[in-house]
Subunit: 425 residues, 2 copies
């Protein structure tokens, strides 16, 4: 059997429920891994091993709380926790102590989750990076913004970490760190107590190593009772979408994607390449415009009261957002609604779409988090997206594929992705 | 000229800009009114006259900040303020001091607004009432949840107050208190720092006495540059919608509504009675279901950590929300999307719809806030809504009409409502 820190959340929960392991043992294994690796990887913004063990022991000694009983969770540091500081990745809030838990944390605790610690985020989940390094090569970025949750899940520090996505903040770090990344259908998960960046797009997600863990978290957060994903379900109909930015994907990424499409066809999936509606080529720019406008409102307090403590990147985002007229914003939103309608029509012919997660492997250097280009369109379209780590590039770093489902078809997407993952990994 | 505390926000801003009044004079007039009436009406959860004057004097002595320069604003106490406590109407948070301003407060301050004080809200903007009494009859409710902002605007304590609406929380108190109430198109205004109840519906709004003040606030918050409303614009095409619940409106309300429709026709508006699509009769129940499901997530922390400090009403809402399956919730949302599409089609024949704001006058007693029935459908449909005080009932208390516009047609709605209001008030 794998070490306890290498198991998935559902596997851990099942072991604890069967009394084959205690939460203390699981958390101890995670702590050991963190102590071994944290100085190099830097996944945590806040971590207190004793406090994590206290929670685990209390759960071991108490009644079974729910389906996460005893499972350690990494919490992205834009998500409020009543017992740990929450800094939003910003120099404005080094000592911020929320008075209450975010809704997703409260529901996780209620189900028996152990809040292991707070994982590093970029500044307000935008571009300016935190300290985390790619566990596969410490000289390379993890991608942002859910960098600590991605690195920690990839590096076996915990089975699952909360992330959030407004542009590419789950998809890209998952791809760069070689772990599973899930961005929910926009609106599925409540965001109370989560620091917002752009209300048109903000959504929660997860970084983990097992697809069934995403089903588990959907059950905890919204009571979604879709059955756990199965590898032996029917082959999905797959649309291979190179996207309008295909020539910006490097050769290895193109190779991995094309190889995946071929392999799925060999395995019995019906695979074809749909033509995206013409207007979709503008959606990366449309996403940028809407996000900027929204962000300039959402973080107005920080921009007006603490301009000296914002990064140049964040200040530029605020100023860009303020330069956009309400009319241009509304036109962008109207175009977006039409594109969502067109995608829904297109999805009636497909179970899932297969697309690049990122232009290539994690770029070298820790000053930037890579290009969000390949996620902007899907985020704008509000569809659920899963990134699966299925290849490596020329530098030996991970390459992922994005599997996209229909809006609110998250349960089906997870099942189809399991079928795909079992044939590609 | 009216006393300074009786002017609208735009009128005050214009006076100050023309140096015909100072912010200190305006705020002093508001304070005098508050001191005269607050002991009876109880509009404020937090009010510090000296601090309000400090803000006014600083603005008088500084450079012009923006289009709200020197204008006093009431802030509903679910909206975070960095310099005043924010209690969310809950016994859980008697001393809560936010570390930052809500985005709408930050933008108002940046434009030169004076944060006059925090206005009373029901518990988490749901049903359990605060202390505010109806200024027209202290034995009657103001309606909820934006009760302090409605009473304060109606009673000339300030020109405009922030409200929010998830069911009927602007429309109903506006109608009961005899003031203008505006609920924006859902999604138009950012909600960072505003305590949420149900993310499918939560939206900001305003309680005020002049329609042009709403245009002013839209310019401040989202840069909407729609021209100020004009009484001499073209007559709008009006759909008179009795709604499926017409027989639950009392005789006076029916009389006021029918009289308004007749009068608008006499004044040159094209008025007809559209048939609502069949499914609309279920929308009040659908709204209740979705709101309960959402609220059970949004306020999970309070429900799981402080159950003893919640009202029985709020606990019942949480339990109702937890009893609803995700599948039923999704079906309700899917029906809602279809109804929004049907309304959009119907609105292609009308500029505005005219409908009841509430079943009647403000009910007697302070233990409840009246029935939200006549707002649930419009809130679910995400359309902008204005309540105009145009009549009185058998008890001599105000009766309002609701003027509903097309989604994101808020600027046009305000103009059409001005035409209507000038002919009905």
């Amino acid at each position: 059997m794998a070490d306890l820190n290498e198991l998935g959340a559902k596997q851990v929960a099942d072991l604890i429920a069967a009394k084959k392991a205690s939460s203390e043992e699981v958390v101890t294994a995670c702590i050991a891994r963190i102590e071994e690796r944290e100085a190099e990887v830097g996944a945590f913004q806040y971590f207190d091993a004793d406090y994590a063990l206290d929670q685990a022991r209390a759960l071991d000694n108490g009644p079974v709380k729910g389906s996460l009983h005893g499972v350690p969770l990494g919490i992205k540091d834009i998500i409020d926790t009543r017992d740990m500081p929450t800094g939003n990745g910003s120099r404005i809030y080094p000592d911020r102590r929320p008075i209450s838990d975010a809704s997703c944390v409260a529901l996780s605790r209620e189900a028996g989750g152990v809040i292991l610690g707070k994982t590093v985020t970029t500044e307000f989940a935008y571009f300016f990076p935190g300290k985390t390094k790619n566990p596969h090569n410490l000289g390379h970025t993890t991608g942002g913004s859910s960098m600590g949750s991605a690195a920690g899940a990839a590096d076996h520090m915990f089975p699952i970490g909360f992330g959030s996505q407004t542009a590419a903040s789950v998809t890209r770090p998952a791809a760069y760190c070689g772990t599973i990344g899930y961005k929910a259908t926009t609106g599925d998960f409540d965001l109370q107590g989560v620091c917002g960046l752009a209300s048109s797009y903000d959504t929660l997600g997860f970084l983990c190593r097992e697809l069934e863990d995403i089903s588990l978290m959907r059950e905890v957060l919204i009571g979604d009772a879709s059955p756990s994903p199965r590898a032996d379900s029917a082959a999905p109909t797959v649309g291979f979408v190179r996207t309008p930015w295909w020539d910006q994907a490097d050769a290895a990424t193109q190779r991995v994607l094309e190889g995946a499409a071929d392999r799925l066809a060999q395995e019995g999936a019906e695979v074809s390449e749909p033509d995206l509606p013409l207007g979709f080529a503008d959606l990366a720019d449309t996403h940028k415009l809407v996000m900027s406008f929204d962000a300039a409102r959402a973080r107005a307090y920080e921009y007006t009261s603490h301009p000296d403590k914002l990064s140049p990147q964040f200040t530029a985002l605020m100023e860009e957002g303020r330069s956009i007229s309400y009319q241009d914003y509304r036109e962008a939103q109207t175009r977006s609604i039409e594109c969502r309608r067109q995608l829904k029509e297109l999805m009636s012919d497909y179970d899932v779409l297969l697309a690049p997660s990122a232009p290539g492997e994690a770029p070298e250097g820790l000053e930037a988090t890579g290009d969000p280009l390949f996620s902007r369109m899907w985020t704008l379209l509000h569809v659920p997206s899963l990134t699966l780590p299925i290849g490596t590039g020329d530098l030996g770093l991970p390459i992922g594929v994005q599997v996209v489902g229909a809006t609110h078809g998250d349960g089906t997407l997870i099942s189809d992705a399991q079928w795909i993952y079992d044939r590609l990994k």
